[in-house]
């Protein structure tokens, strides 16, 4: 046999588009909004296998909410959702600027991904626990965590609840159901399963959620989480935020030869589905479904949120070095804020110019006054200075 065999070669997946190329998402299949039916919460994972290869979407091109998954949120709730997303985006922009001004050492924004964490937070109940990554501050914003406290943490100032111990944005709030963020990727995913197991062991009704990025699904703790969640039927919702990039590495390196990240759940008998991560209504509806499933003892769900990281990985990163500057604009699922705004307008519940002012406690103006506009705080904990001497991505 050997003599007729060609030499082998290594397959190294490449993204469709590098700097200078024209972005092309024509291969990316986007199901119609409303096309994916909503199964009962006790659905057998096998019976909904297809959902891992489709995308649950509620908002159509016209901004209408359509299909089984629509209708769960009131206009007030949607307006509040819009306010949360705008708040998060505005907060991000201010903090990004603060970092550029040397007022803090580091920042990570959510640009383009605001719907994922903001909508998800509203599907949970008091006492549930999130095990987030560094890109889910929407969970805090949407559950009323004081922005002032977030900024204190970012500035590592005297009021930082973490006493300057952690890198900016590595928040922790037990009270707000937000587990201490780790810098080490993936570790929190299996911890969320443990928390959920503990709830089950204790005969509680609380659930946990785990969060992980597309790139980080490659980490081994992803597997640990899936194994334990599968075996003990833990009441946990496991979320993959597929924002297409892991620093400079496109999602194909972590995904390999499979259609979707959600499909990873099939090998564990875990209910798995994909959702339009830029569709506030869809994320919320899917989160509600999975949370109820977990809470009622039907076991874990794996959700792939399909979205796009429109900004840099962090303030240390310049994405134009590895992807086209036009890729974000070409992203076919649009902007979550624009889409929700359009929906409110279309459904007659918003004005055309209705982007709400960011919410927050206190408003930005007050904050800057209180902290001396980010200048060195005279308190016990020092303001961090940016690491100008080392360029590289944290």
């Amino acid at each position: 046999m050997t003599d007729e065999i060609e030499p082998l070669s290594l397959n190294v997946p490449e993204p469709g588009c590098r700097p200078g190329d024209t972005p092309d998402f024509s291969d990316f299949e986007i199901p119609r909004a409303g096309a994916v039916p909503r199964p009962p919460v006790d659905a057998d994972p096998d019976s909904i296998r297809d959902m891992a290869f489709s995308i649950v979407r509620v908002l159509n091109k016209e901004g209408e909410a359509v299909g089984d998954w629509a209708g769960a949120l009131s206009t007030d709730e949607l307006r509040e959702g819009l306010r949360h997303m705008v708040t998060l985006r505005t907060f991000d922009a201010r903090m990004q600027t603060a970092q550029r001004q040397g007022k803090t050492s580091f920042y990570m924004q959510h640009l383009g991904e605001e719907a994922v964490s903001c909508a998800f937070a509203r599907a949970l109940e008091d006492g549930d626990m999130n095990f987030p990554t560094y890109r889910q501050a929407g969970l805090l914003v949407a559950s009323g965590y004081p922005m002032l406290t977030m900024m204190n943490q970012i500035y590592s100032n005297a009021h930082d609840p973490l006493h300057g111990r952690q890198l900016p944005i590595m928040y922790s709030s037990k009270e707000h159901g937000f587990f201490s963020i780790s810098g080490n990727l993936g570790t929190q995913f299996v911890q969320s399963v443990g928390w959920a197991m503990a709830s089950a062991i204790s005969g509680d009704t609380k659930i946990a959620t785990g969060w992980i990025g597309d790139g980080s699904t490659a980490e081994s703790d992803f597997h640990a989480a899936m194994v334990f969640a599968s075996t003990y039927k833990a009441p946990v919702v496991l979320n993959i935020v597929n924002n297409q990039w892991a620093i400079s590495t496109f999602q194909g390196i972590a995904r390999g030869g499979v259609g979707t990240f959600a499909a990873r759940g099939h090998g564990f008998g875990i209910a798995s589905l994909r959702v339009d991560g830029n569709d506030y209504l869809a994320v919320h509806a899917v989160a509600k479904w999975a949370a109820e499933r977990a809470r009622r003892g039907f076991g874990p769900t794996l959700i792939e949120h399909v979205t796009y990281r429109a900004g840099g990985h962090s303030t240390s990163d310049d994405p134009s070095a590895y992807r086209s500057r036009r890729e974000a604009a070409a992203w076919p699922l649009g902007d979550p804020i624009e889409r929700l705004k359009q929906h409110l307008i279309t459904s007659g519940n918003g004005r055309r110019t209705a982007t709400p002012r960011p919410s927050g406690d206190p408003g930005f103006g007050d904050f800057c006054a209180e902290t001396g506009r980010g200048r060195r705080h005279p308190g016990r904990w020092r303001c961090a200075q940016p690491a100008r001497h080392v360029r590289g991505c944290l």
């Binding site: 201490s180 080490n184 443990g194 204790s202 597997h223 334990f228």
Partner: protein, 334 residues
Amino acid sequence: MTMIEAIREAHDVAMAADDKVVVYGEDVGFFGGVFRCTAGLQEKYGKSRCFDAPINESGIVGTAIGMAAYGLKPVIEIQFADYVYPAYDQIVSEAARLRHRSNGDFTCPIVIRMPTGGGIFGGQTHSQSPEALFTHVSGLKVVMPSNPADAKGLLLASIADPDPVIFLEPKRLYNGPFDGHHDKPLVSWKKHPLGDVPDGSDAVPLGKAKIRREGADLTILAYGTMVYVAEAAVAETGIDAEVIDLRSLMPLDLETIVASVQKTGRCVIVHEATRTCGFGAELMSLVQESCFYHLEAPIIRVTGWDTPYPHAQEWEYFPGPARLGEALNKVMED
């Protein structure tokens, strides 16, 4: 009772007193652990408080951290200390740092038990002593009992502790003391005074060493199996040495160590682990720092060699009474 029974009893006492205590690990549930340290617990406390885990050490520790964050007190078993490395990230980056990094918002009261050390012909993957890999990590406590009574008391203290504890069980001592004379028959704990384990729930506090033998001429610092090797070497050389069983490496009872070395002026440190950067290096540094002007001779380390733990050449690797005795004589002559 044996050390295995003492460990089982500590679990039992803790589980009976507090239903937040849960116990799991590979083969820990129905079978009761490959060394039987958890035998009977599943039957008594049910499958949701004592159960088998998938073979994934990172998952075992990672889920325990989540459970601890919820409010439970997981006591988990790593089947052999040699198999803890897949969990190293969860232990070092997560369990050890959670309290610090969240400024006390979340804590991590877990106990990670693991059979440790050699002397059982287990080869390189059933014989390791990785204590230094944990003592270097701030945020971890590290404990190693040398007898059934301490095993029970220290395990109860570890379970009560509000932070993560690495609980190393010298497996060569499970059924009886062992002094390195591998040709001698095993003496059971049942015939040994330290096999007499007190009833009840009294803890042995972490951070308190035990002087096993008072002596005037030199101080031997030992823990785990090496305590018996030290006793044998002392008996065989006839040197009037003070033998200290550290029991807990972190926190360390530096006070007892310093008082002893200042009294004797001489010190020998013995451990089974690989020499370079072993816990002996830290002990030697602390003694040097604290007792420099009292030292009459260089401190000596007697340790395993800087190789993987061998199978057939086990007794060449194991720091037995002969090798230790030589060191004692040398330090007396120096």
